[in-house]
Structures are given as C-alpha cells and as structure tokens.
C-alpha cells in the first residue's frame, strides 16, 4: 500500500525513544479513519512510534482492506445516513459509533517481529494490560482476540502501511448489537437472527472510564516498548497526507477495494474468532447454520425429499464438528448428500 504523497521527515534525535501520544478527541467518521492512517505514513517516514485515540462523532461502517463491499447493506446505510469507508488494515465490515473509543499503536516496521502472529500478540498485550488496569478481566485468547471470559471486548485489525506497522482496536463502552448486525448484507432472515443472537452472546461492552483507560494504555505501551510517552500532534507533512487520505477514502475506486479473485458464494459472517454463521446452497439444498469452536451450534436445513426428516437432520448435525457433518448427513440419502455439498461451502477459517 502506498501513499499518494511523500512520507514525513525523518525523526529528530530527540524523538528517538519517544512514544508520541495523540488524542484526536471526537472527530468525523472520515477523520476517525484518515487521521491514524496519516500517522502511519508519518511513522513510516521517520516520525516516532505513536499511540493515538479517536472517537467518531457519528455512526458509520468500515470494511477491512480486502473485504467485498457487497458484505455491507449499502441501501440500509444510505437510508440511515451511514457513510461507508474502507480501511487499510484487516478484518470484516464493522459498525462504529460514539460509544466506541478507538486506539491505534503504530511503530516502524523494523521494530516489529517479521512473524505477524508474533507481532500481533506483542502489540495487543499492552492493550490487555490496560483493560486489566481499568478493572476488566481481559485476556488475549488462543485465537488472538481480546476477551473477557468467552466474550470479545475489543475489535482489532492490523496492517503494514509502507514501512510502519499499525494495530487498531477499541474500547467498547456501549455496543448497538442490533445495528451492528443490520448494516451487514445478510439476506436470509434465519441467518440474520442467529447472527444477532450470537453477537449479543459473544460481543460485550466494557463501560469503564475512558480517560482512565487512555492513561492505562499510554503507560502500558510506553512500558512494553521501553519508550517515554509524550503528548504530540500531527506534523505539517502528516497534515498534508491527511488531506490526500480524505480524498482517497471518499473516492469510489478506493471504496471498491483492491484487485482480488472472486470467492465462493456461501454467505458467512464472523461474530468473533471461532464463532460464525453461514448460509449456503448446493442445487436445491440450503443450509443456514451457526458454528462455535468448529462445531455446528444450530442448523436450519432445506432440501427436497427431506420431508418429515428435516427436524431429525437438524438435530443430527447439531453439536457435530464440521468435518464430520457429511458423514452424519449421509444417512439421509440424496437430500443428505445435497445438504453436505452445501455445508462444504462453509469455511470459517478464512472469513
């Protein structure tokens, strides 16, 4: 990913060993994205490691760098006045509003392990410490999610922007589960309802004091990185970059996303790592299911010829690990084979 404008000037000797902390406060939805992207270009160009915070002044929707815009219900967003932007880090389409305080930690890429899993864990660990400092029993689970118990409490995404690595996350003070589900393009009512149910079950707000959380974040990142935290602001070059980014992020080309291959047709929605829903079809057979930790949690099956066996087939697959589903459905004859083919489109690992 490249900038439309040259990056910031090299860091001065005084900035070495410094963690620049920028609190952008409440900003427009667009700026809640473009400000930290401008910081990333600045850090790539030699500005010091930077921890930034921003809160959007109005709700909007943001899609991850690679994700298909068709995953968002654009008509609903338009009707509701929700802008849609594409970010340069990963993850799926998300709903953002002023009940969420967003943070970004950005470092020179050379200061971050090349192994991405290593980098993510290292850069999320201070955020976990800050949550704990604020009184939340947070942990980084085996899937790399910041959780309390089995509920996700912080959405995150990460990326390398030129020669800087940035990891973003949020403190969710309030969360509108219904709207977070509604902005997604999910045609099947059963899948939509199940997604909302799981969203409520597995995504939890942690309404702690935001100022205390910010202070804890600053301490945790400064300590973990061995840097001295100091308040800062954008450089003049970063301000110029910001103007470019404002243009880029509001252009149709950018919103369309990068060139990528078309993927299979199953509609899958991730609620948190290991928890997702799927609607898939194979010929006349249709499957709607939720999957938790690799096992079918609930299923709604439709296939000609299944007739009175529908409920039995749904019960049979419930609680079954996904790879074993075809074997279970085989005893339902041809309809079972058709349903197994529909299930084959489900691959929660790559949502």
């Amino acid at each position: 990913m490249t900038s439309g404008r040259g990056a910031a000037a090299p860091a001065t000797p005084a900035s070495v060993g410094l963690l620049r902390v920028i609190d952008f406060g409440q900003v427009t939805p667009l700026r809640s994205q473009t400000l930290w992207h401008a910081v990333s270009y600045g850090v790539s160009g030699g500005q010091p490691a930077t921890l930034s915070f921003a809160r959007p002044s109005a709700p909007y929707v943001c899609v991850g760098y690679h994700r298909d815009l068709a995953e968002v219900d654009r008509d609903y967003c338009l009707a509701e006045g929700l802008p849609v932007y594409r970010r340069m880090v990963g993850g799926g389409p998300v709903y953002l509003d002023d009940g969420q305080l967003f943070f970004q930690i950005c470092l020179p890429a050379a200061a971050v392990p090349v192994a991405r899993l290593d980098a993510l864990r290292l850069l999320l660990a201070p955020a976990v410490a800050a949550f704990r400092s604020a009184g939340v029993a947070a942990r980084l689970d085996e899937d790399g999610e910041i959780c309390a118990g089995d509920r996700k409490i912080c959405g995150h995404g990460a990326g390398q922007i030129e020669d800087a690595v940035v990891v973003c996350g949020n403190l969710i003070e309030r969360f509108d589960h219904e709207r977070a589900t509604r902005v997604l393009a999910v045609a099947d009512p059963a899948q939509r309802a199940e997604t909302l149910r799981l969203m409520r079950r597995y995504v939890a707000p942690t309404p702690v004091d935001a100022a205390a959380f910010q202070a804890a974040m600053t301490r945790a990142y400064a300590q973990a990185l061995g840097l001295d935290a100091a308040p800062g602001k954008l450089t003049a070059t970063e301000e110029l970059c910001l103007a470019d980014l404002d243009d880029r992020f509001t252009s149709a080309d950018w919103l369309d996303g990068p060139r990528r291959a078309s993927r299979q047709a199953a509609r899958q929605v991730k609620v948190r790592a290991g928890v997702w829903t799927v609607a898939a079809q194979a010929g006349p057979a249709k499957v709607v299911a939720s999957v938790v930790a690799g096992t079918v949690h609930r299923a709604w099956l439709t296939a000609p010829g299944l007739n009175g066996d529908t409920a039995a087939a749904e019960r049979a697959v419930t609680g079954v690990p996904l790879p074993e589903v075809p074997g279970v459905l085989a005893r339902f004859g041809e309809p079972g084979r058709q349903l197994a083919a529909a299930f084959a489109g489900a691959d929660g690992k790559r949502i």
């Binding site: 990963g90 291959a261 790559r350």
Partner: protein, 174 residues
C-alpha cells in the same frame, strides 16, 4: 541471515535428527518441508524458482505462511506491473493483519496464480507447488539472483535457525 548455530554445517547435519526427505523431493527440517531446488529471500521467506528463460516463479515457504496465521486473503498487482526487490507485489491478510507480499526480485509481474488468489488455502497446503503466487520476468540469470540464498547448505542452515527462533519465541509450536 544464517543462524549462528548452524552456519557452515552441511544441509543434512544442520537439519537435525528430525529431518529427512519427504514426499515430492522435499526435505523436512525440524518438521517443516523445504525445497532445495530454488532460492530464498531470508527475511521474507519468499522462494524463487527458475521457470524458463528470464522467468521465475515466486512463492512463500511453509514457515513464512505458518507464522502469518491462517491466510484469509491474497491480492496482487496486475500483470505487467514493474517489480522492485524489497517492495510489495501484493498483500496478504491473515489474523486480520494486512501486510505486503514483498518481491524478492526486480523485474515485471507476468502472471498471477489465480487459483491461489481464489483459495489462499492452496498456499498452506502446497506452498512449494500449486500454492505459488506469481511469475515474474527478470533480467540476468534466473538461477543466481542478487540478495537470495542459493546454496543448499546455506538455505538449510538458515531455515533450521528460523524454525528454532520461532519456536523459542512461541510463534510456532514446540
């Protein structure tokens, strides 16, 4: 980039007791497959295999892929795009981290492996074969490109060192 504990050792010795030759002529180094018929960029785990006069095939080795996390997305620059060694020819997304696919060569992107773009799992299943990423036209001898490891002993020592490094840091399982 050679690991100090292995530098200078013959390939098999550096690979250690767990190693051996597996299916498809791949060597197994501490549990990971490695092809010795190609060159490697040691910082990025990209491999480069001559694929014809002035043409190379490029992919990522199994260790580079595993330490990225489960591949969710791959995107590539269009055919005809100029490539510079050390600069991106596309992006990889794994574990919600979008990072550059860094070109190990300077040249021109000729072909994108559309199969791997549609199914990034191919790169995990067969990183040295069907999971290749792009083909590129390069100037000069495709078997001796600047900045790449080409000697099998050097490659083996580097790779074994990386496996140990990632295991010690907990990035991959012991």
């Amino acid at each position: 980039m050679s690991h100090p504990h292995h530098a200078g050792l013959p390939a098999q010795a550096a690979a250690g007791a767990e190693s051996g030759r597996g299916a498809g002529g791949l060597l197994r180094i501490l549990g990971y497959p490695l092809a010795l018929d190609r060159q490697y960029q040691p910082d990025t785990h990209m491999w480069v295999l001559p694929a014809g006069p002035g043409l190379v095939r490029i992919g990522m080795d199994a260790l580079g892929i595993e330490t990225s996390g489960t591949l969710a997305q791959l995107s590539f620059r269009a055919a005809g795009t100029g490539l510079a060694a050390g600069r991106p020819f596309g992006e990889l997304e794994a574990a919600k981290f979008v990072g550059p696919l860094v070109s190990p060569v300077t040249g021109t992107l000729v072909t994108v492996n559309e199969a791997v773009a549609a199914d990034p799992g191919l790169a995990e299943q067969d990183p040295f074969g069907a999971g290749w990423l792009i083909e590129a036209a390069v100037a000069g001898a495709a078997h001796d490109l600047p900045g790449l490891l080409a000697d099998p002993d050097e490659i083996t020592a580097w790779f074994a060192g990386k496996v140990e490094e990632y295991r010690l840091s907990g990035v991959i399982a012991q």
